[in-house]
Symmetry: C2
Subunit: 328 residues, 2 copies
């Protein structure tokens, strides 16, 4: 029996696809229903309207190394567009070569997260954006000093004024965070092969990936990695090999939060290695095996690991458009 | 009386421009003859054929931070496309936040230089490219280790093989240097306003810039800043405020080379501040004044400084096309 969702979904497919594709089914409808394709834009907060001017300013600021105290580290240093908007090293390297405690999360689709950072210490991208600028092991900059540097440039004065036209003194921390957040909300990968599959293109992913999808559901991975962005935005306790990181406990001080981390997105996980909060796991196969052991108490056999890995690769979308801005 | 060059030049202008523009003259032909527009490509060395495959590989390598020992510093860190392919800080910041002795030269039009680095210690881009990778204060990487890291990636194996199809073991230092050089030879700015002016568009630069061109010639700036890339590729002694750098002496050990530096290009000088070998000079006006004093023994008055500065801004071209590569 079809539920309402299925009817709507089938209707959508009929409208979108050729007749033969619309009628196609691979017998996995029940599984596919458990997932959602990624929307093209994340939810936009009422307090930060998404304007072109803000996005353009945020794009400039994202690539601006002079808001770091060394003058050479920008957001794009660790969230490198050449490297899946992350850095592909175990733990972030920042000011004076200091190595942080955690693996850099990609900013791709980060607008879909309900909590930012591994420990969820900020609720949204606006607040998140100001953290790494000030963190001693990252950009190591005093926010006030960063704003002063920006204000020295006529072009930043103009761009901030254009983005915040009603404000007398728009170069401030709130607007810095807003513009960076607005830009990051454009960095989404909505058309991954798996999204096309969910929208009715039965051949968009391989048979092996489909088997992986089935294993992903049947083994319960989907309990935490769920929804359009493959995360419940909740905190779960895990201590991966080599990690002594207390996780969310650092934020709340509550005993029950020890070693808890926010479930990371699995979108683009194929291009955002290495894995785990400490980045100690190099391959996706290894990561799948560890998650089976640590979170599900299961020893996946090799075919299962390979299938789930193939499925995870189908979550890699096209990298979003952006420009390397010409900075003043 | 017209010389052969003028006739050819006028003919070119007739072919390229509307009749009125071709006949236009601003009475400064004698000055214009002293300059050359920048070709679209620099001289290509016989030993490094410029192929698409090499350029593509070089583009990848230019943005590849994993050939640095920290894993986060690439060529593009200091030669940042967002910042005129330089870094806009006085002296380069490299491995573990170490500050080098010299200001980062832009890579724009660097294929036109006859000697690389401030002290000319390498003759070409092939040899230049391998320096910063290994320098302790820059990427601090052993070349062998860099090559090993690249060889770990199947995609680099494929790309090196495609660029060097007849070689059995193409991931080597020579090819690394060649590919980076080939890519950098695409980073040119041939259509600056001043080039368009030289090619016959009399309105491409302002009256003030034309006055600056006249002052640039009449005061002898052109003696060293000459040719299409505004440098004689020779070494001249200068000790700017705050610098104790021995310059070319470091390379040759010869007394007469003390404090000598290769004449830097003036192309894109408007977007590659700060200035001088130690980057201690922030504005172009100040740089022009210092060069007048130190190199020409003249105190330029303010209008002259402003005119020369306007002229120098006309040497800023459109930034070249490139792609931020998706790295493996």
């Amino acid at each position: 029996m079809r539920n309402k969702y299925e009817v709507i979904s089938a209707l959508g497919a009929t409208l979108l696809l050729s007749a033969s594709a619309a009628q196609a089914s691979d017998g996995l409808d029940e599984y596919r229903q458990r997932f959602e394709p990624l929307p093209h834009l994340p939810p936009l907060p009422a307090t930060n309207s998404q304007t072109e001017e803000k996005v353009e300013l945020g794009n400039m600021l994202f690539f601006e190394p002079r808001i770091s105290s060394s003058g050479v580290i920008s957001c794009a240093t660790c969230h490198n567009p050449a490297l899946g908007w992350s850095d592909r090293i175990p733990r972030a390297v920042g000011h004076n070569g200091q190595v942080g405690e955690r693996n850099t999360p990609t900013v791709l689709n980060s607008g879909f997260l309900d909590a930012q950072f591994w420990d969820g210490r900020e609720p949204d991208l606006e607040a998140q954006a100001l953290g790494p600028i000030q963190a001693d092991v990252e950009m190591a900059m005093q926010l006030e000093h960063a704003l002063e540097r920006l204000a020295e440039f006529e072009r930043y004065q103009d761009k901030f004024s254009a983005a915040y036209p009603d404000q007398e003194d728009p170069i401030n921390a709130d607007n810095l965070g807003q513009a960076l957040a607005a830009f990051q909300r454009t960095l989404n990968t909505p058309d991954a092969p798996f999204d096309r599959y969910l929208r009715g293109d039965m051949d968009a992913i391989s048979e092996q990936a489909k088997n992986g999808m089935v294993a992903f559901v049947d083994n319960g991975c989907i309990a935490c990695h769920r929804g359009a962005n493959f995360t419940d935005s909740q905190f779960h306790a895990i201590q991966v090999p080599g990690s002594t990181d207390l996780g969310r406990y650092v934020v709340t001080g509550e005993e029950r939060d020890k070693y808890r981390f926010r479930t990371p997105t699995l979108r683009n996980v194929g291009v955002t290695y290495p894995y785990m909060n400490n980045g100690a796991t190099e391959t996706l196969e290894e990561a799948v095996a560890i998650m089976g052991q640590e979170m599900l108490g299961r020893e996946f056999d090799e075919p299962t690991i390979d299938n789930i890995t193939a499925f995870l690769h189908s979550l890699t979308g096209e990298m979003p458009d952006f420009e390397v801005p010409a900075l003043p």
